[in-house]
Assembly symmetry: C2
Homo-oligomer: 255 residues x 2
DNA sequence: GACGATGAGTACGTATGCGTACGAACGCTC
DNA sequence: GAGCGTTCGTACGCATACGTACTCATCGTC
């Protein structure tokens, strides 16, 4: 699980955006890890041990009331990181975070991150910028849940997922989607059929092909694109100069 | 609007929780202001000029997609402050914030707050703790919008509002509630009748009396109480010693 | 190549909430 | 105390989504 830590080529956009000195601060603590499907990165009320900068794959933040009934409130891919609460100074979260699409990440001990955050103001600034985007994403989810039809919420979810996967095939079952969206499994099936009827997607067993994002975006209405736009505004087009070595970045959101 | 700034007695719980030195840092910049109904404290995409520590009344954060269709995603009372995005290092927000129940606040220029935040790590820590609670509140709203019936969402909203007002009378019209919850006005009327039938509330013209919180809590299910509990966990019972002078604090959430 | 497990299609009755609309009640102003 | 604007009660038809449940398809496994 550990790795030669001398030189990473980052796919994670946050790591790519680090200044050289901040990169030097973090890199010694980063460990390449694989993210297995349904692996739990954070559990409600438990101490957060590690924070993950996603390189490939998707982590999902799900919230619940005091009991069960989890619903997804945030999506994290190679544009972001887990451990929002650590950034804000907490050691735990009432939410759970788990892997929704397997991949890899660079992980850092929460304590090491805390130390680095105290040392470097620019690091704090950078990561808190991501916190902003994440907060906005959560707020948008709240609005989407209130105002969008099931098909619309599904459309929004597909777009956000595809952005983070960077592929046209989304490997998810209806059952899983229904849990994420907090709706009935059969409802997902029907909504997917509706999208399929419009030639927007093609559904296979355990997999959804995205055929036409434009059509899907129409379904999601105005509730797709704002966090993505805010991300671009805050992080800008990554200037290759004076930045940490960086792999070609994952596709960004279309507006 | 200005004020003798030498001695404040704070009702705002965040200000109350300030260490003496942090209080000394902020106090010179605080101005007592009145919050008028529907006054806009932040507008989407506009620079955030001032940040408000609510002393009495309620501010409401509403989010929208790229277009209209605003829905409330956060509530702020004397336990909190506006300007979350300033805390996170931004100068603007895609959300709007406006006064939902009139009152008063202590306001500080966003720039002055930024300077103070840079100077004092303990101040940063404290205010970011509130940011945590606010983020959790937003996530809970997302879950509530996905899973709760209209009556449940209304119940949750009534409880949160009453916590912040500290009174048993909530002065709101059905029309206004419908906008906040993102539902139909007539739907609010019906849901209120349902609650009234259970003797949980009593609805007058433009005003709702809270009669029995227990019954209302049953309606809100598990989706009321988590942010409130987290607030108490993080801020604890305010120890009167070594703290800034503080008025008797507003009622806290019952669990 | 049969079996079990998982995933997907479908269906029926019901509940929740929407859009719209109209009228009644209340409260303020002149 | 007449007039008017706001607020609230109510109603009807319809869309959306639910809960439940049964069947069929697909896949991996022995």
């Amino acid at each position: 699980m550990a790795n030669d830590k001398s030189k990473f080529v980052f796919r994670n956009r946050l790591l790519c955006a680090l200044s050289p000195s901040d990169a030097a601060l973090l890199t010694p603590h980063l460990r390449a890890v694989t993210l297995k499907l349904r692996q739990e990165l954070e559990q409600p009320g438990r101490p957060i041990r590690r924070v993950y900068f996603i390189e490939r794959g998707i982590a999902s933040v799900v919230s619940a009331g005091i009991g069960k009934d989890r619903v997804e409130t945030g999506l994290i891919g190679p544009e972001g990181m887990t451990g929002l609460m650590v950034l804000l100074g907490n050691h735990q979260s009432p939410n759970a975070t788990f892997i929704q699409a397997e991949g890899t990440a660079l992980a850092i001990d929460a304590d090491a991150l805390r130390v680095a955050l105290e040392k470097s103001e620019s690091l704090r600034r950078l990561l808190l910028k991501y916190a902003q985007v994440f907060v906005i994403q959560t707020a948008q989810t709240a609005v989407a849940n209130a105002r969008l039809t099931l098909e619309g919420r599904l459309a929004r979810w597909l777009l956000m997922t595809q952005d983070r996967l960077g592929e046209s095939k989304v490997p998810m079952t209806h059952e899983f989607l229904s849990v994420m969206l907090g709706v009935r499994r059969a409802g997902v099936t029907e909504a997917l059929h509706a999208l399929e009827g419009k030639r927007a997607i093609r559904a296979r067993r355990g997999e959804i092909d995205i055929l036409d994002r434009k059509i899907i975006q129409k379904r999601a209405g105005t509730l797709y694109g704002l966090p993505e736009a805010e991300y671009e505004r805050l992080f800008g087009t990554p200037s290759p100069s004076s930045r940490t070595p960086c792999a070609g970045r994952a596709r960004t959101a279309a507006t």
